[in-house]
């Protein structure tokens, strides 16, 4: 897919220096959306009027000699589970269709303060449950590199919007890989920051101990720029890390000389397509060439990540989604008593995958099964954390593929939940531990579709992670 417009870094520099207007930038991207959106279906809503009026504000600031900020005039698309005051926020679910939040998410405020222009809300798997964006209650999103393929998920609309040139920046959320896997499948950069590094205030909750917001961008430098804007302490999220974040943009070009980089054996063998494995080896060679010390790392418990994840995430979801009862927001199906109304509303409003996960989570938490499933999964989580802690004694960074395969065909895995869940095998361990990780595009598979390499770092290791990402990007 041709990328007709500049990076966020270039756009912001040009707008701040008065070379181009924010209105021009926004119209350019709206034009691209008008041309291709019917095929790609990346958006649930394009906020044309609000974007134009915001661009005018930015231009007025520039005319008055003010600096709108580091994202001056840069269009941003938001996953539709991020609350935007007065703009529908649906989570791609019928149960929230038409709901207009009474407040903005913290990340939305931060982007606004940095001079960004929100251009729309992107499609997703319903309540972020899925790996292909086919679980949207509205319509599936298509991969801009090949329209017969999925963009990945659950933040597939955000990944596709960046890949299609609709916007240089999009935000998504990552509970088990929902930023990194679609980034890999769409050939863009995707970052899952350390748990607590970005405020979750205003992110509609899926699994609260795993959810984290992060950016999609075309370049590593843009990802660093956005990460530095949104990674802030926030008193409105009790899990927010209170120390200020270290800048990632400032250290971007420090290289990897002397860094110890481990390739995670357990995430690189059987089950990974050979072309994906080959790109990973090339990435490893590029880091070695740049001076990194390469070794083989072992995180034995990582192989249990999927099992622990598919107990813990549905358990938390079954609790979080109890709030959709037809009382305070969204859909209500009429019935002659409140309990009957609750049941009728939830049964009509949730899609199949959401029901499946609520059922699984409710079962795992129910009397008689709690210790056997949920309790045990929490102990496995401890085991995974311990194994990673051991790996961090030997390595500064760890590598693996982001996804075992390139983008699969629409419809290929919808009938088989297990096959779909396998897409997350390399990404879920990091959500369970709270660490940071990102996907960087690294060449193509035999089918010509993008391959992503996952770089993992310890908690708050974003600066060193971005240094390696910049080296990989430059080596292509």
């Amino acid at each position: 897919m041709i990328q007709p417009f500049g990076t966020a870094t270039d756009i912001a520099a040009a707008v701040r220096s008065g070379q181009i207007s924010a209105s021009f930038v926004v119209d350019q991207h709206l034009g691209q959306i008008a041309q291709l959106e019917d095929e790609i279906c990346a958006f649930n809503i394009v906020t044309v009027e609000q974007a134009r009026s915001r661009a005018n504000e930015i231009d007025a600031q520039i005319a008055a000699g003010e600096d709108p900020g580091p994202l001056a005039g840069v269009p941003v698309a938001l996953k539709d589970n991020l609350c935007t005051r007065g703009i529908p926020t649906t989570c791609s679910s019928r149960i929230l269709e038409g709901w207009k939040p009474p407040y903005d998410a913290t990340v939305v405020e931060l982007l606004h303060q940095a001079g960004a222009v929100i251009i729309g809300k992107t499609n997703m798997d319903e309540f972020a449950m899925g790996s292909s964006t086919e679980n949207s209650a509205f319509r599936p999103t298509r991969n801009p590199h090949n329209l017969s393929r999925v963009p990945g998920g659950s933040s597939g609309g955000s990944a596709a919007a960046v890949a299609a040139g609709f916007t240089p920046i999009a935000l998504g959320s990552d509970t088990g890989g929902s930023i990194r896997q679609p980034a890999a499948l769409c050939g863009v950069v995707g970052v899952k920051p350390t748990y607590g590094r970005v405020s979750r205030y205003g992110l509609v909750a899926f699994a609260s101990s795993l959810d984290q917001i992060g950016p999609f961008t075309k370049t590593v430098a843009d990802a660093a720029l956005v990460t530095d804007v949104i990674a802030r302490p926030d008193g409105r999220d009790s899990t927010s890390i209170s120390e200020p974040a270290q800048s990632t943009a400032r250290v971007l070009h420090e290289g990897v000389a002397g860094l110890r980089v481990g390739v995670v054996a357990e995430l690189c063998g059987e089950g990974i397509d050979s072309d994906v494995a080959a790109r990973l080896q090339e990435a490893v060679a590029a880091l070695e060439e740049a001076g990194a010390q390469i070794g083989q790392a072992s995180v034995p418990a990582a192989i249990y990540g999927l099992s622990a994840y598919y107990l813990i995430a549905p358990a938390e979801a079954s609790s979080n989604l109890a709030r959709y009862d037809g009382v305070r927001y969204g859909l209500r199906v009429a019935a002659n008593s409140s309990p009957a109304m609750n049941i009728a509303t939830r049964s009509a409003g949730f899609g199949e995958e959401v029901k499946r996960r609520i059922m699984l989570g409710t079962y795992a938490l129910s009397a008689g099964y709690y210790d056997a499933y949920y309790g045990k999964a929490q102990k496995v989580r401890t085991l995974i954390i311990q194994d990673f802690a051991q790996a961090w004694e030997e390595f500064d960074l760890l590598l693996s593929p982001t996804s075992p395969t390139t983008a699969f065909l629409l419809g290929e895995r919808t009938a088989d939940p297990m096959a779909m869940y396998m897409s997350d095998v390399c990404t879920v361990p990091v959500n369970l531990t709270g660490q940071t990780a990102m996907s960087v595009p690294y060449g193509c598979g035999d089918d010509g579709l993008p391959v992503g390499v996952q770089i993992m770092a310890p908690a708050l290791g974003e600066p060193v992670m971005f240094r390696a990402a910049a080296v990989l990007e430059a080596s292509l």
Partner: protein, 109 residues
């Protein structure tokens, strides 16, 4: 390797009756077809996650959260609050500054 769902440890078959019970706990009403499909799929899923049963982890402490949780404190001063009319305007039914719902205890009004 490694990247795989481990072999089922035991057949965790879920009956349609179990499934209906869990659905009731989750405030969902499933059709007969959904019950049939979900009982098979949930059984398969539980077979796969049963791999964790083989691990010797009895002595490990459970992790509920990636990092230690604490309660951040702030000064007890009024902050910004949501506009109640704006909040209520998004509810399916509201009246006199309150959410309106059908009878809770079964008595029709």
């Amino acid at each position: 390797m490694a990247v795989r769902w481990l072999v089922a440890m035991g057949q965790k078959r879920i009956t349609k009756h179990d499934c209906a019970h869990v659905a009731a706990l989750a405030r969902l009403q499933l059709t007969d077809k959904e019950l049939e499909r979900f009982s098979v799929q949930l059984g398969e899923l539980l077979d796969h996650v049963a791999e964790v049963e083989s691990l010797d982890i009895a002595d490990l402490a459970p992790t509920m959260h990636p990092f230690e949780l604490f309660t951040p404190m702030r000064l007890d001063e009024p902050g910004e609050v949501l506009d109640s009319e704006e909040v209520l305007s998004q509810a399916p039914h509201f009246e006199n500054g309150q959410f309106r719902v059908p009878p809770v205890l079964g008595e029709a009004l």
